[in-house]
C-alpha cells in the first residue's frame, strides 16, 4: 500500500479565492492565504492554486500570493493557470512554488512539457487536464475552464504528456466539478491505468466516501478537493479519519 495525498485546491481569481460549478459561475469565498493557512494547519498534504481566469487574459497574477504563502506554509505548493513558457514556470518556482500545472499552453505546444521537465525536473511538471465526457468511456480535453474544445482524447493526451516528461497528471472532470456529486471515477481510472506516473483526481468531492471511491475504484494516487473544504462541509481531520477507517493510508499529522 502507499499513502494517498489529500490536496486542498484553491481556485483564484485575483485577489480572491473563488469557487464555481463546472468551473463557471464563480463565487467569491475569501482571502486565499487565510484558507491556505487553515488547510496547512489542518494537515493538508499539498496545496494547489489555480488561477482560473489566467489563460483567458494571458496572465498569471499569482506570483505575490505564492511568495506570501511560501513564507509561512511548509508543504508542497502547485500553481497552475496561465503558464505559457519556461520563464513563467521559472518565476513561479522562484516565488516558492514546487510544481507548475499546465493545461492550455501544453495543448497548444506539447514540447513545453519536455522543456519544463528538462529544465526543472519532471517532478515540477504537472499536466493539468480538463476533461468532459463525450460518451461512455471517452472524454475530450478542454481548456479555458471547460469552454474550449481541443479535439484531443483525454487518455491519449495523458499518455503523450507522460511520454513528453510530465511527472504527474491532475485530471479535473468539468462535468463533476463543483457539483459535490462525486468524482468521475471511470475517467480517473482510465487515465491512471494508462500512465505510470501519479494521477491526481479533481472535481466533484462532496463527502469523504467520494475520496475512498476514487482511490479504490479510480486508482487515484492523490485527491484534490475544494468546495467540501471551503464551505467547511467536512474538515481535513474528519476526511483523513474516514479514509483511515476504510483502510486507506494517509499521513499522521503532528499536533
Amino acid at each position: 500500500m502507499k499513502n494517498i495525498r489529500i490536496i486542498a485546491r484553491l481556485d483564484i481569481k485575483a485577489p480572491n479565492l473563488i469557487k464555481g460549478i463546472h468551473l463557471e459561475g464563480l463565487r467569491v469565498i475569501g482571502d486565499p492565504l487565510e484558507y491556505a493557512t487553515k488547510y496547512y494547519n489542518d494537515g493538508a498534504d499539498e496545496l494547489l492554486y489555480m488561477d482560473i481566469v489566467a489563460s483567458l487574459y494571458n496572465r498569471n497574477q499569482l506570483l505575490g500570493l505564492v511568495e506570501r504563502t511560501a513564507r509561512g506554509i511548509f508543504i508542497p505548493i502547485t500553481v497552475g493557470g496561465g503558464i505559457r513558457n519556461v520563464d513563467d514556470a521559472h518565476a513561479l518556482l522562484r516565488a516558492g512554488a514546487d510544481k507548475v500545472a499546465i493545461n492550455t499552453a501544453a495543448t497548444k505546444r506539447p514540447e513545453l512539457i519536455t522543456d519544463i521537465a528538462k529544465r526543472f525536473g519532471s517532478q515540477c511538471m504537472i499536466l493539468s487536464i480538463e476533461a468532459k465526457r463525450v460518451t461512455v468511456g471517452k472524454w475530450e480535453v478542454f481548456t479555458d475552464n471547460g469552454r474550449e474544445h481541443t479535439g484531443l482524447d483525454v487518455v491519449e493526451w495523458a499518455k503523450k504528456g507522460a511520454q513528453l516528461g510530465a511527472g504527474e497528471i491532475i485530471v479535473t472532470s468539468v462535468d463533476q466539478e463543483g457539483t459535490r456529486h462525486g468524482f468521475d471515477v471511470d475517467l480517473v481510472r482510465a487515465v491512471s491505468e494508462a500512465v505510470s506516473i501519479p494521477v491526481v483526481a479533481s472535481g466533484g468531492m462532496g463527502q469523504p466516501e467520494h475520496l475512498v471511491g476514487v482511490v479504490k475504484n479510480g486508482k487515484a494516487d492523490a485527491v484534490a478537493m475544494a468546495d467540501v473544504l471551503h464551505y467547511n462541509r467536512f474538515s481535513l481531520p474528519a476526511i483523513r479519519q474516514y479514509a483511515r477507517s476504510q483502510d486507506l493510508m494517509v499521513r499522521d499529522v503532528p499536533l
Binding site: Q123, I197, D221
Partner: protein, 210 residues
C-alpha cells in the same frame, strides 16, 4: 543566531529552503560564492532535478572544491534530495556520472515493480514514514534527534541512494515494498532524500536540529 549558507547552483526550490531555515530562527545566506561556501558555519546543498545537470551546474560555478573543502572542516553539511544524491560517488541518471564522492555509494533509479507489489508509479511522490534502520541504535546526535520514529515527511524522487556502508543509513522509508535510504549520515555530513522544507512541522524540527 545559527548562520546557514545555502549553495545556489541554479537547481531547485531555493526560496522554500531559505524560508524554512529562517522559520527555524537561522540567518540564511544564499550564495554561489566559493569563499562564502568554504567558510560557512553550516552548509546546505539543496536541489531538485537530475544528477548530471546538478553536477554540471556545480562544476560550471567552480563549487565542487569549496564544498569538499568545507566538508573536511568538520562543520555541519546537509544535502537535501538531489543535494544528498550528489554527495555520493556516482549517479546513473541519463548515463553514469561522477558525484562529489563524500559518501561511498551510488544513485540508481527506483524500481518500477517488485514481486510482492507488482508494478507501481514513479516518481515516488508523497508523505512517507521514517523508520530507524537496524544498524542504527539511536538518532541521538543526528538531525533526527528530536524526530519520533514513524514521523511522516514529504518525498518526491525517481532515484535513490545506495550507500555502500550500511551504517551510513540511519533512517529508511518503505514505498510499495522498496526500502529507500531516507537519511544518511557520516560524521559531520548528513543527507535527506525527502524535503524537510516541505514536511510541515516535522521538517522544520529536523532543520532546527541541523
Amino acid at each position: 543566531m545559527k548562520r546557514v549558507v545555502v549553495v545556489d547552483y541554479g537547481m531547485g526550490n531555493l526560496f522554500s529552503v531559505c524560508r524554512a531555515l529562517e522559520a527555524t530562527g537561522a540567518s540564511v545566506l544564499l550564495t554561489s560564492n566559493p569563499d562564502e561556501i568554504q567558510n560557512a558555519e553550516r552548509l546546505v546543498l539543496p536541489g531538485v532535478g537530475a544528477f548530471a545537470e546538478g553536477m554540471a551546474e556545480i562544476g560550471r560555478r567552480g563549487l565542487a572544491d569549496p564544498i569538499l573543502a568545507f566538508a573536511k572542516t568538520g562543520r555541519p553539511l546537509l544535502g537535501i534530495c538531489l543535494g544528498m544524491q550528489l554527495m555520493f560517488e556516482s549517479g546513473e541518471e541519463f548515463g553514469t556520472h561522477e558525484g562529489l564522492g563524500l559518501l561511498p555509494g551510488s544513485v540508481v533509479m527506483l524500481p518500477t515493480s517488485n514481486p510482492t507489489f507488482g508494478s507501481f508509479k514513479i516518481p515516488h511522490i508523497g508523505w512517507n514514514k521514517l523508520a530507524m534502520t537496524g544498524q542504527c541504535k539511536s538518532w541521538n546526535n543526528t538531525i533526527l534527534k528530536n524526530t519520533a520514529p514513524d514521523s511522516f515527511v514529504y518525498f518526491v524522487h525517481s532515484y535513490e541512494c545506495k550507500p555502500v556502508i550500511e551504517q551510513h543509513c540511519i533512517a529508511r522509508t518503505e514505498y510499495c515494498g522498496c526500502t529507500i535510504a531516507a537519511v544518511v549520515r557520516k560524521d559531520n555530513i548528513s543527507g535527506c532524500q525527502f524535503h524537510p522544507e516541505k514536511s510541515g512541522k516535522t521538517g522544520l524540527g529536523i532543520l532546527t536540529d541541523f
